[in-house]
């Protein structure tokens, strides 16, 4: 999947034209354990890179999901309200969090591609 980019905070973004779908990686869901609650932002909210975009709560911990780049929230994954377990079972598919209108595509350049992220995770031991 060449259009997937990754952050060091274990978020992925799949670019679809001038928007991007955002979620957390398989490694991240594995570390969190069973997800029991996901708090998503309001549609229309403007996020800057590094802002808290969502909160994910598991049986072990609560963690923030950061906006990997600037943009307005176009859509959120309502399915996670009733089925937060999708984050565990299908982190890069049905477990997506939100869709962002990308305002600065240049911010994608600093992110890792799939191979780069795989190496990064390997380095974490």
């Amino acid at each position: 999947m060449s259009d997937m980019k990754y952050t060091t905070d274990h978020e992925w973004i799949r670019v679809e034209g001038d928007s991007g779908v955002i979620g957390i990686t398989d490694y991240a869901q594995e570390q969190l354990g069973d997800v029991v609650f996901v708090d998503l932002p309001d549609v229309g909210k403007n996020l800057s890179k590094g802002d808290e975009a969502a909160v994910v709560e598991s049986v072990k911990a609560a963690a923030e999901v950061y906006a990997p780049l600037d943009g307005a929230v176009l859509e959120i994954n309502e399915a996670l309200t009733d089925a937060p377990g999708l984050v565990n079972t299908d982190p890069v598919g049905g477990g997506w969090f939100l869709k962002l209108q990308i305002s600065d595509p240049g911010q994608l350049d600093g992110m890792m591609d799939e191979a780069g992220y795989a190496d990064y995770v390997k380095g974490l031991g």
């Binding site: 069973d34 609650f37 049986v59 072990k60 911990a61 377990g85």
Partner: protein, 517 residues
């Protein structure tokens, strides 16, 4: 997840292990117990009431449509029900309770004897002040001890718990910032090794939370902290000793840099048990700190009673302390209850009805007076000694996260379980089969699979040796490849491994008649 009235066949929630089936589900003399509503037997009653007169089914505009739903049980059934429930509870009176940062120490019976003295137990907060002079003197004396022990000039007594104390402290800070016309300061720095309530409190008070990373030694990363200082920083909320069980050696530099940048210094005092009698927070540059009387000063908690979280305050914050407070008045004491009587002070308001947790004040002062200054110092020393004894007894078989010595608690992580197929959760469940309440798990988040152990000073050497022996044995068993015995644990409890995920995703919080039928 509906509650079954059928008592048979329970206890097989997790596969594996050697589950023992009994006819009614009782295990030894650990008795199964249905909910009290499920034991309803229409017409049963503990008292022989006369037939009630005909009563209207209407109260004002409301009309009762169904039955009231109180279960009918005889007196012995009720007594047995609650006794059986009480026996399912684990308590500090039963054994070691090593929850990290919770300071589950023994609650001395002397405290209980004193608090039951009729003059104290029977006092009512609405009595005229001249009839409760002793109670006010007691609050004043406790306040004096708290100020002396912390080296701080003022204390707000009314907060009813640790997090309530945090709220009080942060509201004082907010009021002080507003009073000096500095309301644009809205960022609060919170180290990763702080208590989890700290960021929650800051957010509750309308601040934004900015985390500070920990360094490789488990302390605040000083360079990262300094880089975050600015004219929008309202405060730092530091836990000391932190949740890694470590003293923050740079605390004085942290405080002076923070003050220079115009911020206030909040210290989470939940871990004051490690410092009492040894270190005065006032000497470290702290502006406010809550004190958990139910931790450091031995009042009951964890289901045994309400908490109490007085907050000591610096000169800068003292004028904003919440109402009410006790003042000396002539030969006696008076209460300042209203802003109009507060003189130059600018209280931010009131946090609680009445004056605070009086029962906890009595117990805490009894504890202080029975220990004395030297005794309290020994409390801190023994708490630190005991934690280091656990560290020394386990460091070769478990992984200590940061180099010791530690303070009052010791942090392990799951590196020693790597490759064993056993997780921190599995390890904790296996401890239950061995008769030990687990330690704090998966917190703090700065290490992987955290296990935070706080033995407290009230455990004997023999008690700690037994705990260490069990932990060593479990660690050896995990490393020997016996993952199955961990994954199937607990095996000896009335219920096996609970489905915590389902409990969180689809909680069943109340019994409903329809669900049971």
């Amino acid at each position: 997840m509906t509650h079954s009235t059928d008592l048979r066949g329970r206890g097989e929630a997790v596969e594996g292990g050697d589950a023992i089936e009994t006819v009614l589900g009782h295990r030894g003399l650990q008795l199964e117990e249905a909910l009290i509503f499920e034991q309803d037997s229409a017409g049963s009653s503990g008292v022989d009431l006369p037939t009630a007169p005909e009563a209207p089914d209407r109260l004002g505009t409301f009309r009762r449509q169904g039955r009231i739903g109180l279960p009918g049980l005889s007196e012995p059934e009720v007594v047995r029900h609650y006794t059986r429930l009480s026996q399912k509870n684990y308590a500090i009176d039963m054994g070691l309770y090593p929850l990290g940062s919770c300071t589950m120490k023994h609650n001395p019976r002397l405290n209980e004897a004193v608090v039951r003295l009729p003059g104290l137990a029977g006092a009512h907060p609405m009595q005229p002040v001249e009839t409760v002079q002793g109670a006010l003197a007691l609050i004043d004396e406790l306040a004096h001890w708290l100020k002396e022990l912390t080296g701080m000039p003022a204390v707000a007594m009314s907060p009813a718990a640790g997090a309530h104390g945090e709220l009080c402290g942060m509201m004082c800070i907010r009021a002080a910032l507003d009073a000096r016309g500095d309301s644009k300061r809205r960022r609060v720095l919170v180290p990763e090794s702080a208590h989890g309530t700290n960021p929650a409190t800051a957010a509750q008070c309308g601040f934004t939370v900015d985390p500070i990373p920990a360094n490789a030694k488990g302390r605040v990363d000083l360079a990262a902290f300094r880089a975050k200082l600015g004219d929008d920083v309202a405060a730092l909320m530091l836990t000391n000793p932190n949740t890694c069980g470590l003293f923050e050696p740079d605390i004085i530099a942290i405080g002076s840099d923070l003050h220079e940048a115009g911020g206030y210094f909040y210290c989470d005092g939940a871990n004051f048990n490690a410092l009492v009698g040894r270190v005065r927070p006032g000497d470290l540059g702290i502006d406010c700190m809550h004190i958990n009387l139910h931790k450091t000063f031995s009042t009951p908690h964890g289901g045994g009673g309400p908490g109490a979280g007085p907050v000591v305050l610096s000169q800068a914050l003292a004028p904003h302390a919440p109402l009410p407070w006790v003042v000396h008045s002539g030969d006696g004491f008076a209460l300042v209850e209203h802003e109009g009587d507060a003189g130059d002070a600018k209280p931010f308001g009131r946090l609680k009805g009445f004056h605070g947790q009086m029962g906890m004040f009595v117990r805490a002062l009894a504890y202080m007076l029975s220990h004395g200054k030297d005794g309290l110092r020994q409390v801190a020393e023994d708490a630190v000694l005991n934690a280091n004894y656990v560290l020394a007894g386990l460091e070769d078989v478990m992984t200590v996260s940061f180099d010791g010595p530690c303070m009052h608690e010791v942090l392990f992580d799951d590196r020693f379980l790597k490759g064993s197929g056993v997780s921190t959760l599995d390890f904790a469940k296996a401890m239950i089969d061995e008769g030990y309440h687990p330690m704090t798990m998966y917190f703090p988040l700065v290490v992987h699979g955290a296990m935070l152990v706080e033995p407290t000073e009230t455990e004997s050497k023999a008690g700690l040796d037994a705990f260490i022996e069990v932990m060593r044995s479990l660690a050896a068993r995990a490393k020997a490849g016996d993952a199955d015995s961990f994954i199937s644990a607990p095996r000896l409890t009335p219920r096996r491994r609970l489905d915590e995920t389902a409990a969180a995703r689809k909680p069943v919080l109340r019994w409903r008649e329809e669900a049971a039928e």
